[in-house]
Symmetry: C2
DNA sequence: TAACACTATGTAATAATATAACATATATTA
DNA sequence: TAATATATGTTATATTATTACATAGTGTTA
């Protein structure tokens, strides 16, 4: 587990303490006072953080959330629930689900160790 | 099953005959000769086509693919495999998988009838 | 038919998301 | 030290998507 660089740490801290997924430019606005001035600086840190599993990208929302699955063993096998009203996003950690998906074989008998699953519905509060 | 409007039909035809997912602006360039001149015209048709399940959006690629699951009964429950080398995308239609996911319950006992799953790996040719 | 609601279209402008290209600096390792 | 890899800074630009406003067509029903 490598240490984070300065920019990576700043951006990870912001995402980690956010109760909701953050978008790249929201992140940019919030770290400008810390000296990160350009989009590319944000995107580079995001890329790295995604790569090492500290954060995940919510593809349908173009937003980023910190991993809370004990610094994701499954950086490449992610599942989320997304509330269609309040946009609350929760990372799903289910041994059953990840086992099922990791063992799933398509028609050609092909298995996939990497996947991203996004469930949509209404959260407890919005139901 | 409603009929498609003129723009919707033009854009669906293009996507339907494409062997690969198409991006919005690629679509735009390809339909300009048919009188569709602005991005919004494309996005509006895409939105509608997604809504009625004739096409699906590949979220991780910002691209659109025609549904070939007999005009998708499962417009809201989609699964794809994506080759990380050649970018070939295939819609997965597996009764087992859709049943498993439709019945999946999260920690709160919540079920989700809508989801999008993207598997990543190497296709037959690229392996 | 006329009124209404609904869906679709046309057009211009702009917002939001992401990358290319190039220069420099810092950390790691041999 | 030298070599290598990783990270940063900066400017410009590419790509993806929406807002706002005006108009036209389609279907329903009073
Ligand atoms: Zn995680
Ligand atoms: Zn909610
Ligand atoms: Zn389909
Ligand atoms: Zn391939």
């Amino acid at each position: 587990m490598q240490n984070l660089s300065k920019n990576q740490q700043i951006i990870f801290d912001l995402i980690d303490k956010s109760p909701e997924p953050l978008k790249a430019y929201t992140i940019l606005y919030n770290v400008q006072k810390k000296g990160i001035k350009a989009p590319l600086q944000v995107y580079r840190a995001l890329d790295k953080l995604v790569q090492i599993g500290k954060i995940h990208k919510i593809e349908s929302r173009n937003a980023f959330i910190a991993c809370h699955n004990s610094s994701c063993q499954v950086a490449k096998a992610t599942a989320f629930s997304i509330c269609e009203i309040c946009e609350k996003v929760t990372e799903i950690s289910s041994a059953g689900l990840s086992k099922y998906l990791a063992n799933f074989k398509d028609k050609d008998g092909m298995k996939y160790s990497k996947y991203n699953l996004e469930f949509f519905g209404l959260c407890k509060k919005c139901r």
